[in-house]
Assembly symmetry: C2
Homo-oligomer: 483 residues x 2
C-alpha cells in the first residue's frame, strides 16, 4: 500500500473541503451569526489536517486498486468527521455524535435529520447542511461513473470507455471525464436555482433546495419540507429536477457529445420512467378512492411523493404515513429500487433490478435446457456473466445488512416495522421512512447506539456496499508487492 500517495490525495481533498466551508463561514460573518467561530475553527482544523497530509505525503506514486479504496474510505471518513464540527461546536446539536449523524446524512445525501426544528437554525448552518448534500452528491457521481464504473455490477454507459483508476496513464482521461460531470452538475444547479427564483422562492431557500435536490438529498430549510410553500410551480420544478438527478449522469455527458436521443434510448432510463408512471398511477387511484382528495390533488401528491422516494430524495408534500396501505407499500418498494446507476439517487438501482429479472428468466430457461449456453443482453450489449454474480451478491448483501441493522435497531426498542423502515431509509439514502421516522417526524427519537447503526448504514448504502466492505478483508491490508 502506497500510503504516502494516499495522504497526498486526501490532503488536497481536505484543502478543497476547507475552501467550500468558507462559504457558510462568510455567511455567518455577514449575517452575524453565533455559528461563525464554529466554522472558523472547523476550517482551521481541516486546513491543518489537509496541510499535514500534503506535507507528509508524496505527489508521485503508483495508484493501484487498493490505494483507490483507501482514498475513497479515507475521504468519506475525514469529510464526515470534520463536517460534523460546525454542527457540534455551534451548539445546534447537543453532542458530537448528533453532529456526525447530520454530517453523514448530509454528505451521503440521505437527508435524515435529528434536528426537530430546522427553522430556528442559523442560516449558515442550513447552508452547510445543503452544501454537504451538494458536495456529497457530486462526489458520488464522479466516484461511480469515473472511478469505479465496474465495481458493483451496475451497468454504466461509461463502462467500455473508462478503464478504471488502475494506471497513471488514464489519469488525464479521468480528469477530463470528472470535469465534464462537474460542469453538467453545476449547469443543472444553476438552472434549477433560477427557475425556483422565477416562481417566487427567496434566494436563500432556492440555493438550499437546489443543493438538496441536485444531490437527491432531502434536507430542507423548512420543517414541513416542500409542503411549506404549497406552490404547484415549486413542486413541478422540484419534481422535474428530482427526476433529472435520478438519471445516470453519464447519459448527459453522452447526450452532449452524441445527441439527446441517446438518453431516450437507454434501457435503464426507460424502465425508470415506466416505474414512476405506473407507481404514480396506482398511488393516484388509491388516494383518489380512499382519501377522497379529488383527482388533481391525488395526482399532484402521488407524483411528488413517488418521484421523491424513487430518487431517494426524501422531500415531502404530504404525510404519506397516513396514506392507504397499498400506497405505503409502493413507496416502500420504490425506496428499495432507487434511481438509475451513476445518478445521485440511492437504493438498489433500476439497472440492477432489470438485470436480476433477466437473470431469473435465464434460470427458468436453464431448468428446461440444462446444458444450453444462454447469452444475456442488456439493451444491445451482451453482459459479462461476472456482472450477474456481482449484482446478485449486491442484492443479497443489501438484505443481509438490512436484516442486521434492523435487528440492532430493534434492540434499541424500535418496533419491528419502524426498525425495518429506519434501516431501509438509511441504507437506501432516502431519509424519511414510515412510522417513528416518517415524513412528519425526525430521527431525534433514535438513541446513540441506533444513530451509530444508521451512520454505518448511510455510508454503506452511499458507497454501494462493496466499496466499504472490501476493507474488512484482512487480506486487503496485508502488505504485498505487485498488485
Amino acid at each position: 500500500m502506497n500510503y504516502l500517495f494516499v495522504e497526498h490525495i486526501l490532503g488536497r481533498l481536505m484543502i478543497a473541503y476547507a475552501g467550500f466551508m468558507v462559504i457558510p463561514f462568510l455567511g455567518a460573518l455577514i449575517w452575524r451569526e453565533k455559528s461563525m467561530p464554529a466554522f472558523l475553527f472547523s476550517i482551521i482544523v481541516i486546513m491543518v489536517i489537509g496541510l499535514g497530509l500534503l506535507h507528509h505525503g508524496q505527489k508521485n506514486g503508483r495508484m493501484g486498486v487498493r490505494e483507490g479504496f483507501v482514498i475513497v474510505a479515507g475521504a468519506w471518513l475525514l469529510t464526515c468527521s470534520t463536517g460534523a464540527m460546525p454542527f457540534a461546536m455551534s451548539g445546534v446539536v447537543p453532542n458530537y455524535l448528533d453532529g456526525l449523524f447530520e454530517s453523514v446524512s448530509g454528505l451521503t445525501a440521505t437527508g435524515a435529520t435529528i434536528i426537530d426544528n430546522v427553522e430556528i437554525l442559523p442560516k449558515s448552518i442550513l447552508l452547510w447542511r445543503s452544501l454537504t448534500h451538494w458536495l456529497g452528491g457530486m462526489g458520488i457521481i464522479v466516484l461511480f461513473i469515473v472511478f469505479l464504473p465496474n465495481m458493483t455490477g451496475a451497468v454504466h454507459l461509461f463502462k467500455a470507455e473508462v478503464t478504471g483508476a488502475t494506471s497513471e496513464r488514464v489519469l488525464p482521461r479521468i480528469r477530463d471525464n470528472a470535469l465534464k460531470l462537474w460542469q453538467i452538475y453545476l449547469g443543472l444547479t444553476a438552472v434549477q436555482f433560477f427557475l425556483l427564483l422565477l416562481v417566487g422562492m427567496n434566494w436563500f431557500d432556492a440555493v438550499n433546495h437546489t443543493f438538496s435536490t441536485m444531490a437527491s438529498g432531502g434536507f430542507s430549510t423548512k420543517n414541513a419540507s416542500i409542503m411549506y410553500y404549497d406552490s404547484l410551480w415549486i413542486e413541478l420544478i422540484t419534481i422535474v429536477f428530482m427526476i433529472i438527478t435520478g438519471i445516470n449522469f453519464g447519459l448527459y455527458s453522452l447526450a452532449l457529445r452524441s445527441g439527446i436521443d441517446k438518453i431516450f434510448k437507454d434501457l435503464e432510463f426507460r424502465f425508470y420512467l415506466i416505474i414512476i408512471a405506473v407507481s404514480t398511477f396506482v398511488v393516484t387511484l388509491s388516494l383518489w378512492w380512499t382519501l377522497g382528495l379529488g383527482g388533481g390533488n391525488s395526482l399532484r401528491q402521488a407524483l411528488f411523493q413517488v418521484v421523491s422516494i424513487i430518487t431517494t430524495t426524501g422531500f415531502v408534500t404530504a404525510d404519506y404515513d397516513q396514506w392507504p396501505s397499498v400506497s405505503k407499500i409502493i413507496l416502500l418498494l420504490l425506496m428499495f429500487i432507487g434511481g438509475c446507476a451513476g445518478s445521485t439517487a440511492g437504493g438498489i438501482k433500476v439497472s440492477r433490478i432489470i438485470l436480476l429479472f433477466k437473470l431469473g428468466w435465464v434460470e427458468l430457461k436453464r431448468a428446461i435446457h440444462p446444458k444450453a449456453v444462454i447469452n444475456v443482453r442488456f439493451a444491445t450489449r451482451s453482459v459479462d456473466p461476472q456482472i450477474f454474480n456481482t449484482v446478485a451478491v449486491f442484492f443479497f448483501l443489501f438484505f443481509a445488512i438490512l436484516a442486521l441493522a434492523t435487528l440492532l435497531l430493534a434492540s434499541t426498542g424500535l418496533e419491528p416495522f419502524d426498525a425495518i423502515c429506519a434501516a431501509a431509509a438509511a441504507l437506501g439514502n432516502v431519509g424519511p421512512g414510515f412510522g417513528v421516522v416518517g415524513p412528519s417526524t425526525t430521527f431525534s427519537s433514535i438513541n446513540s447506539f441506533g444513530e451509530i447503526v444508521l451512520i454505518i448504514c448511510m455510508l454503506l448504502g452511499r458507497l454501494e456496499l462493496f466499496t466499504l466492505l472490501v476493507l474488512i478483508q484482512p487480506e486487503f491490508w496485508r502488505s504485498r508487492k505487485g498488485w
Copy 2:
C-alpha cells in the same frame, strides 16, 4: 410433451390419495360424524379422476424434464383441489375457496388456518387436516431429495449420487431411494407418536400432532396449539422432533448406511444448530430482561418458538407477537432462513444462506484481485459456479414474489407490516406470522382475493419457486422433440 405418461402417473397418485382419504372416512363412520358423506363423495370423485387418468394414460413412455415438471404441478393441483372437498362439503368452512385455503395450507405444510375454532371440528376433519400435512411433507422430501436434487441450487448430499429423473435407467435407483425415505419418515412418525402417548397425550391428539410435526406443518387439534397442554415433556418431544424434521432427510439415509457421524459432519446441519443456539440465547435474554419471566421460563418459551419458526412448523407455546421487538425481528429473520434443504421445513434454507455469504466473500476478494479464479467450496466439495447463480436468483425471486404478494395483500386493506408478515409466513410455509395473522389469531380476517394470493404463495414456497415458475415460460409448452 408426453401427456399420456403424465396422465398415467397422476392417475396412480390420485388412487393412492383416495386410499389415504379412507382413513378419515373410516374415522367419520366410527365416530358417527356428519362429515362422513363429504369424505365418501370426495373419495368417489378422486377415484373417478384417478381411474379416468389411468384409463386414458399410458404406462410406458419416455419421462423427460418437462414431463417431470408437469407431473409435479399436476399432482399438487389435483391433490389440493380435491383435498378441499371434505372441508367445503362437510360445512366446516363456508365456501370452497376457504376449503382450498385449508387444503393447500395442509398439503404445503404451512399450517395457516382460516378456522377460528378448531376444537369444535369433527375429529375426522381434524385427522384429514393433519394427514394432508403428513402426506405433503413426505411428498416434498421425496421430490427434492430424489427427483429434483439440483433443481434450485440447494446443496444436497445426494447430489452426486442421484442423476435426476431424466432417463428411464435410473428409475429403479429412484424407487429405492424414495422407499428408504418413506421408511425413515414412517419410523420417525412412529417414535414421536409413542413418545407423546408415553407422556400422557391422548392417542388422537398424539396422531395429529405427530403428523403435523413430521411435516413441519403446524395444524393443531387445539386453538391454543401446544400451549394448551402446558406440559414440559410434550414441549421437549415436540422441540426434538421439530429439529429432526428440519434436517436434510438425505442425511438420515446416509447415516443408516455410513454411520451417525455423517450427520454431525454436515456443514448445513452445523450452521442450523448454531443458528438455533444463538437465536435461542438472544431471545431468552430478551424475554428474561424485558418480560421478567425468569430464566427457566424464558429459555423454555424461547427455545420452543425459535425451533418452531426456523423449522417453519408454526406451533406456539407463547404469543410471541407480544414479545420485545428484538425477539420479534429474530423470529422474522428465522422465518426467512428456514430449515435445511431436503427437510420438510420451508423458508430460503440454511444451505442457500451459507452459499450466499460465501459468494459475498468471494466478490469482495474479486474486488481486489479482479482476475483471480476463485474456487468456492461447500464443506469439502467445490461448488459448480452455476449453483451460485441459481441460489442467487432464488434469493432475488423469493423477495420479488414477497414484494408482489405484499402489495396485493395491502390492496385488500392489510396494513404494511401485517401484509409483509402474512406474505412471508405463506411463502416460507411457516403458518403464523405477526399482527393480524399472529400466533394468537387465524387467517380468517383475510378476504377472498387475499386468500388466493396466499394460496399461490404457499404453493410457490413449497415447490421452491422454480418448480412452478418454469411452467410460466411459453417455451415450456411449445411442442418439441428431443428434449
